[in-house]
Amino acid sequence: MIRDSLLEAEKIESRIRELRAEGKNENDQELLLLSIEKAKALRPCTSLTPEDKVYLARKIERPHIDDFIENLFTDFFEQKGDHLYDDDPAMYGGIARFHGIPVTVLGHRKGHTAETSAKYNFGMAKPEGYRKALRLMKQAEKFDRPIITFVDTPGAFPGIDAEEHGQGEAIAKNLAAMSRLRVPVISVVTGEGSSGGALGICVANKILMLEYAIYSVLSPEGFASILWKDSSRHGEACAIMKLTADDLLDAGVADEIIQEPLGGAQENPKRLYGSLDMSLEKNLSHLMQMTPEQILIDRKEKFRKIGAVSA
């Protein structure tokens, strides 16, 4: 596990910050040595196992939708509620500008602290969240706005009220409606994309994955629990599930991988925002040249082909 290397690097980084606060500049000998030490500490991060990537994908310091909206978009106007029953804090979204163009942006919300994480239900949306997303997407289509979604969830929330309010139906309606949207949809899998809860906002023309993000049929714990009745065997599950960005690119699900800084996005978020911005801009301008009909067919064909069967 790379946990220890990251902790070590974090310690060195905080010492670097202290020295900078004391007014030391880049030429300072100690600072120079410390930055070499940090690079050394991060060296194991050059070759990561799937389990390491799951660890990184879930790291609480990792940039979440709030950070992406703040750094890549302007004029964000939050829209709340499904306008049917409730507002789900695990699903966040609204209208914003991307490079000046009005777009609808939405996604699973996660916190950076224990308190905010709990407030956003760890990114596990309820039917109200999926219906909020659907409301926003239908509106985007009405006003001809492209849609950008950020996917980061351990799965849709498994609870009594979620079931009573039709968790399955809410996700199914999103899959059906998203498949027929006549505006461009780009999804970015930023952290953990697990199960129908992820797919429910990820039926996109283009799917981008951050380098250490994961996307899978179920969380590794759920997978181990179903197959071996033992969720503690999630490490084994990570190894066989084929859930890394590279695996998803091979499967034809992901279209592009956004490289992350060594040790994960949290090590240098600004750099990540830069490369994500470039990729989003490129993909969006490509899709915006297509007619509504072409956009619809492009998305339909993408999903029609995945896991094709002969005969």
Partner: protein, 285 residues
């Protein structure tokens, strides 16, 4: 296998020299009845009335007029997409045991003369879970119904996604939902028939997208499995939670239909649509 059978030859066989008739014991009342009796009684226990899961083919035989059924895509082969240890062997083993090669059986046929497309999931094969082949067969059946303007009936019964096919399984949810939605946009009628159990990825895709949603009595229907919910919330679930009757109460099902009324109910609903002036363009009759 054959050797074992001969070793345990029944008294009936030893005396008469004939193969002994097959019996099935009811899990609820422990009474046994001839397999043929179960089949003729729609897999309802003749003694206590408890339902056994119907196999896909016996379900199709029960709804279609005799001699009208034509099965689709019987030769579609399930492959090991993510190099999952032991998957292919398990597929072979189930093929041998059940006589079907996937959990979805798709076909066209007639219900009291009305031409329809039907899909049935069979829980004997990987708990009716959604594999690439299941997704493909369902999608092709929907596309067939769309092209030929036929009503579509899907009998769902599934544990959800096929874990052994990883992300490919998940993507079948998007593929099948897209097909159903396009079919619906074209004015197609889709009757979703939920049977025990309908959960996970099937619930979160085509099973809950019907124009008319019917369910068998007492069927477990939900997204998350009861065990997962109990673990998450740390408490016991209320009695009857996620059963057909509970979903009916919460507004997700049009009608609970006892199995004896299955064919008649389907016919009644079909007839109302075939006779509608808005669906006159359906070529079902």
């Amino acid at each position: 296998m054959e050797k074992e059978v001969s070793k345990f030859k029944s008294v009936f066989e030893r005396i008469t020299g004939k193969v002994s008739p097959e019996y099935i014991t009811c899990k609820a009342c422990s009474r046994r009845a001839l397999k043929d009796v179960w089949e003729r009684n729609l897999s309802i226990c003749p003694t206590c009335g408890k339902y056994r899961p119907m196999t896909a083919h016996s379900r199709l035989r029960a709804i279609f007029d005799e001699g009208t059924m034509k099965e689709f895509n019987q030769d579609m082969i399930t492959t090991d997409k993510i190099d999952f240890p032991g998957y292919e062997a398990k597929v072979k083993q189930l093929e041998k045991k059940t006589g079907i090669n996937e959990s979805a059986v798709t076909a066209e046929g007639r219900i009291n003369g009305i031409h329809v497309v039907a899909v049935v999931l069979d829980t004997r094969f990987f708990m009716g879970s959604m594999s690439s082949v299941v997704g493909e067969k369902v999608t092709r059946a929907v596309e067939f119904a769309d092209i030929h303007r036929l009503p579509l009936i899907i009998f769902s019964a599934s544990g959800g996604a096929r874990m052994q096919e990883g992300i490919y399984s998940l993507m079948q949810m998007a593929k099948t939902s897209a097909a159903v939605e396009e079919f619906s946009e074209h004015g197609g009628l889709y009757i979703s028939y939920l049977t025990h159990p309908t959960t996970g990825g099937v619930t979160a895709s085509f099973a809950t997208l019907g124009d008319i949603t019917l369910a068998e009595p007492g069927a477990l229907i939900g997204f998350a499995g009861p065990r997962v919910i109990e673990q998450t919330i740390g408490q016991k679930l209320p009695k009857g939670f996620q059963r057909s009757e509970y979903l009916l109460k919460h507004g997700f099902i049009d009608k609970i239909v006892p199995r004896e009324q299955m064919k008649q109910t389907l016919y009644d609903v079909l007839k109302l649509h075939v006779d509608s002036r808005f669906t006159r363009r359906m070529d079902a009759i």
